[in-house]
Symmetry: C2
Subunit: 238 residues, 2 copies
DNA sequence: CGAGTGATTGAGGATGCTCAAACCACGTGG
DNA sequence: CCACGTGGTTTGAGCATCCTCAATCACTCG
C-alpha cells in the first residue's frame, strides 16, 4: 500500500503532508512487516539497517540489567517511529517487543541521507519526533522518581489512555498490557502493582478486563496523578 | 568570540566541522550569556526565542510537581545543547538551572529553518544530539526504576564522572553537585541519600569534598552499578 | 555573633519487597 | 470428557528499604 492512502495518515493527531513529501516518504518505504505478539522487533546491542513506523498495534521499548531486571522505557503506538537510535548512531541501546500483533512500515536507514539533503521539512519532523519522545521520557522519569504508587499508576494509565484515544480508539477500549508490564514500567514488584491496581479498580477508576486494563474515569486518574495533558497539537507522521 | 576558535571545539569528544558549517554556525550565533550559579535559565511553560550550547559550567534540567516535589532529569555539561524542545515545539516542558556559573552560546530559534534548509549535515547533527539525550534518559530511567539505592547512586556518580573526564577535566575534579541534587536525581529523600553516599565514602569509592563529590574509584562504581560506558564516539558540537 | 546552608545521625513508622500459596481461564493431550 | 500444565491475577505474612521527624554539627557570610 502507498503512503498516500495510508489509513492512519487521516487520523486526527497527524498533520497533513505536502504531495512532494508524501511521494518521497513513499519511495523511502521498503515494505511492511508483520510481527507476532510477544516477538522482539529490535535487540539492544544489535545494529539495524531499518527504521520503522508503527502502522497498527502496540509495542514497548525496554532495557535490561544483566541479572534480568527489566525496565520498560516507553510504549509505541500507531504513528510512532521506532529504531531511530539505530538509524542515527548505528547501535540500539534498547530492545523493542510487540505487545499486540504489529504491522510496521519499514524504511531503509540509508535513505536518511537523502531525506536530510532534499527534504528539510521532513528532517525537521524527524527531529521533532525525537524531541517528543524525549518529552514523554521526561514525564516518565518525573513519575518514577517522585510520584507515589497510586499517583504513578494513575499517571501511566491516564497517559496511555490519552494516547490511545487521540488515535481515534474507543475511550472504553482495553489497554493491551499485563500487570507485569505495569510493574516493569513503574519500577514496582508484580505483587505491589497488583495491590495498587486493585485499589484503583475497587474505587471504580479502572476495570481489569480481558487481558488488559479498561480506563473508566480517565479525568479522575489524571487528577490523582497531578497530571495534565499537554501538547495535543498535530504531529508529523513519517 | 567566533566559533572557529571556540576552545571547546578542540576537546576530544567533538568531531571536526567543515569550514562552511562552522561559518554558518558562527552566523547563527547571537552572542554569549553568563548565568550565575543557582539562576534559572529556562522555565517550564515558557516559550523561548533561543537555544543554547553550554560553553562552560554545569546545569541541570528538571520538572516539578505542583506540591514542590522535584525530579532532576539530566545534567548539561559543556558542549550540550539546551532548549531544543522550545526551539522545536515552542514551549518548554521542563526548567533548567545553573549548577555552577555558566557561559552559554546563544542561538536564535528562527535560524533553525535556514539550518535545516541549507545545512543538512548540521540538521542531522541536531537530531543526533536529541537522540543522544534520549539515550541518556533511557539509562536514567533504567536506573531509577530498577537499580537499588547503592547501585543507583554508583551509576549516577560514575556516569557524571565519565562525562566530565571525557571533556578533559581532571579525573579527580569535584562534581559540582550537592546531596540534595543527588536525591532529586535518584528519587530519594535527602536523608537516605546521605546514608547511601556515606557508605560509598566509607568504602573509599568517593569523597565528599568542598561542595561536591570527588570520584576516587570510578571503575569500581561502574561495576557496582552493573554499568558499562557506551558510545564514546566523537559527537557533533553545534 | 547570629543566621543560613548543607551534611550527618538516630528513631520510629510507612511503603514496597520476597516468599508462598491459591485461583482462574485456557488450551493440550490422553 | 477430563486431567494437566501454563500464564496471569490475587491474597496473606513477615521482612527490608526508604521515609519523615527531629536534632546536631561544620562552615560561611554579613
Amino acid at each position: 500500500m502507498g503512503c498516500v492512502d495510508c489509513p492512519i495518515r487521516k487520523l486526527p493527531p497527524f498533520r497533513p503532508f505536502e504531495p512532494a513529501e508524501l511521494e518521497f516518504v513513499n519511495s523511502f518505504k521498503r515494505g511492511e512487516l508483520a510481527v507476532d505478539r510477544g516477538a522482539t522487533v529490535l535487540v539492544e546491542g544489535n545494529s539495524s539497517a531499518h527504521l520503522y513506523t508503527v502502522l497498527s498495534g502496540w509495542a514497548f521499548r525496554y532495557k535490561m540489567l544483566e541479572d534480568g531486571r527489566r525496565q520498560i522505557l516507553n510504549y509505541a503506538l500507531p504513528g510512532d517511529l521506532i529504531g531511530l537510535q539505530a538509524g542515527l548512531m548505528g547501535v540500539m541501546e534498547h530492545s523493542i517487543e510487540a505487545l499486540t500483533p504489529l504491522r510496521l512500515c519499514v524504511f531503509e536507514r540509508s535513505g536518511m541521507d537523502e531525506l536530510y539533503r532534499n527534504y528539510p521539512g521532513l528532517a525537521f519532523d524527524v527531529t521533532w519526533l525525537a524531541s517528543r519522545e524525549e518529552q514523554l521520557l521526561d514525564e516518565n522519569l518525573l513519575s518514577i522518581g517522585r510520584r507515589s504508587a497510586i499517583e504513578r499508576t494513575a499517571y501511566l494509565l491516564a497517559s496511555l489512555h490519552a494516547r490511545s484515544v487521540a488515535l481515534g480508539t474507543a475511550p472504553k477500549a482495553v489497554l493491551p498490557i499485563s500487570q507485569q508490564h505495569v510493574a516493569d514500567t513503574l519500577g514496582f514488584s508484580i505483587v505491589h502493582t497488583n495491590k495498587t491496581l486493585r485499589k484503583l479498580a475497587i474505587q471504580g477508576y479502572i476495570e481489569w478486563a480481558e487481558g488488559g486494563c479498561r480506563v473508566v474515569r480517565s479525568g479522575a486518574l489524571a487528577r490523582i496523578a497531578h497530571w495534565e495533558q499537554v501538547n495535543t497539537r498535530k504531529r508529523p507522521l513519517i
